[in-house]
Point group: none
Chain length 221, copies 4
DNA sequence: GATGAATGAGGTTTCATTCAT
DNA sequence: GATGAATGAAACCTCATTCAT
């Protein structure tokens, strides 16, 4: 689980402003057109560097994509981490989680779109695995740790499997993220609820989701 | 919301065996390589017809894809429909649902891969909408109807919004489908649970998911 | 100079209404899209007959095109012929000619578009020759005959070559036809004159063209 | 009316010899086969560059065509311009014009074939308009200016409309160009005159055409 | 006479990646 | 470090024409 780098040393040495620009423009291109239709020659042009230099920074298109993806995911992960290491009870954490995710999805919809992109990527299994490892393992730990500790303190039903419940929780949150950011999920949200999630007041959605989660974790009657 | 056709009349007239062959081979190609990397020349060759004839059947690659997608989705939808129109209580239905989805995902993993594919498609919003409409609207109705009726008969917590809860339920089930069939989700499942879902006994997963769902819908303590 | 047929016997035997329909729809397709981009499968479909039958009527796309072309040219030719065989003096004939051409171009712009089409066709020289022969030889005769007879009666300058002057006259009239019907020529007309020929009153154009022709044929000062 | 470019910057930067080669081979291909049947893969191969590079120079086949077309038209335009800005009387100019056009048509028949090609193009009106604008507007100005000034100095009939007469003059000259270069027009010329224009002595044609033009512009008797 | 399913060569265009400078 | 010209395989899609029925 060592942190892999998907960029070359030259990228590390590059001017921080340029590094940011590459990531931002890359994210913009990948999230708007999708991985296959994104064009790294265009990215280089927009950044204002040559395509040759781009290949000094990243070995392949895929590496650039992954670097962009991780950049976005790290930002969200940090926010979630801060919530989960607090002393709050699980349900308090859950509320903070949901609210943070709503905000983040609106602010950084492109990051989520990239994440959505990789969820349907068909590539080498090996590559896929190491990416999933990096993105999911930290998030899964903080969920599982929190749930396990809630289990110990008796805050949640005693017969739940923390790992699976962590996954279910994540599934719900991820689906919500996608509803905020990805066309198909947004449309699905509208079909189910008759609500355009991007124009709606979030409170109804948040309160219902929290109700769902809260119940799910609670003691059986 | 009328049923749109994404194939030409010539396809309707074609020999049923050939129609099936086209769909099966198309699904195989699309689900294994993804939409962008699928090659309709290859599909035609494998089917044993000329590429010209393929275009007498389908106006574009996209239309062929959607036709394949709907074919797979219809099969699942029918199975779900039969469960949801029964007189069973919601939680009984939920169990049947989960079990059916497990079985179907294993048997027809390619259908789910195609569905996963469209979940991250970037294309014309209009097109996206009509597809979502066709795939999601019937499924959403049967979920919402069942929940609403459970609500009336007092089987579930009275303060839930049936539409949102239907969506949350679907999110959990869809995520499970993807875990069975799509690389990234399977990997994610393994990271959270340490289980290779395709080699595992399903009962642990099923029972935990049912617990989660059951609790979520239950009366608050 | 024997009149060649570019259709098969079956076409002769076909129902007259159908024959007309084929020609009209063919002309519509060829004139709107140009020869290369016209599609005879579409023509057959619009006519309401099978493509197979179309090939019972015409051996090739080119034959259908030529048959359509000749159909339109014959109609114009008849009108011109009636004018030129009259006893009128050449300049009276010229005026009638110009007015007839204006009217015809507006009414049958598609015929002219097809004629324009063949003017830039790159094909077998042999084929080209026989078509030109059929379309141009009668028209050239009636022009040359009229000019020759005007020459004899001393109505026009005595040192003109009737054949070349006939060609020059035809060039002017053909250019006018194209200005009424073909995009590029219409645009050229607008650039030279600032007039949109399709919205303009024709009289200014007609009177100037007649002045030009009249002068051209007149005795030198 | 600003000069539009139909090539990319990379083409400007390319080696001048290569640029010329591309234009010459492009003109050869387009003029011999027509726009639709011309093949840019063949052009690239003959030039000795990859098709990919071709597309770095020109965004589309159409752009390559227009660039070739303008290249040829510019050469003719320059020759005509030099004649028309001289102090010669209009009829002297006319003679120079006709002789220049004869020579040019023989030497650069391919340029004229391309021009003929666009005269029957069916495409977007907008595109057509801007091309016509570029090719015709300068030529029309020099004609109109010359005629207007002849009008002022009393060298031509006073009741002529300089714009329309300029167009008529151009129609005659253009028709002559086509007779020298394009199959159909050459054939038509032969049918009218019994002369193969490419094997004939030009003087008879030139003298008759000048007579026609001279008369046309002269004072009425 | 009439049908229409079937063919398949062929052309435009894209873009990740290399490499000489 | 930086450039950007150059590559070329590969994919979608069209349509005139044939022929078995």
């Amino acid at each position: 689980m060592l942190e892999k780098k998907y960029y070359k040393e030259a990228f590390e040495r590059a001017d921080p402003e340029r590094k940011n620009l590459i990531l931002e423009i890359g994210i913009e291109e990948f999230s708007s057109k999708g991985y296959e239709n994104a064009n790294i020659n265009i990215i280089a042009k927009k950044v204002g560097i040559s395509i040759g230099l781009m290949y000094k920074y990243f070995a392949t298109k895929e590496d650039l994509f992954i670097t962009c993806l991780k950049y976005g995911m790290d930002i969200l992960e940090k926010a979630l981490y801060d919530i989960m290491v607090s002393d709050d009870k699980l349900l308090i954490k859950a509320e903070k989680l949901v609210r943070t995710i709503c905000m983040h999805s609106k602010k950084h919809s492109n990051y989520i779109k990239m994440y959505n992109e990789i969820c349907s990527e068909k590539g080498s299994l090996e590559r896929m695995r190491s990416i999933a490892e990096e993105i999911e393992s930290r998030r899964s730990s903080i969920y599982i740790t929190s749930i396990t500790s809630a289990l110990k303190s008796g805050d949640v039903r005693s017969d739940l499997d923390p790992k699976l419940f962590a996954l279910f929780l994540d599934n719900l949150l991820t689906s919500l993220q996608f509803a905020y950011t990805c066309d198909y999920y947004r449309e699905k949200f509208r079909i189910y609820t008759n609500i355009d999630i991007n124009k709606s007041d979030d409170e109804q959605v948040i309160s219902q989701l929290l109700k769902f989660i809260e119940s799910a974790f609670s003691y059986e009657k």
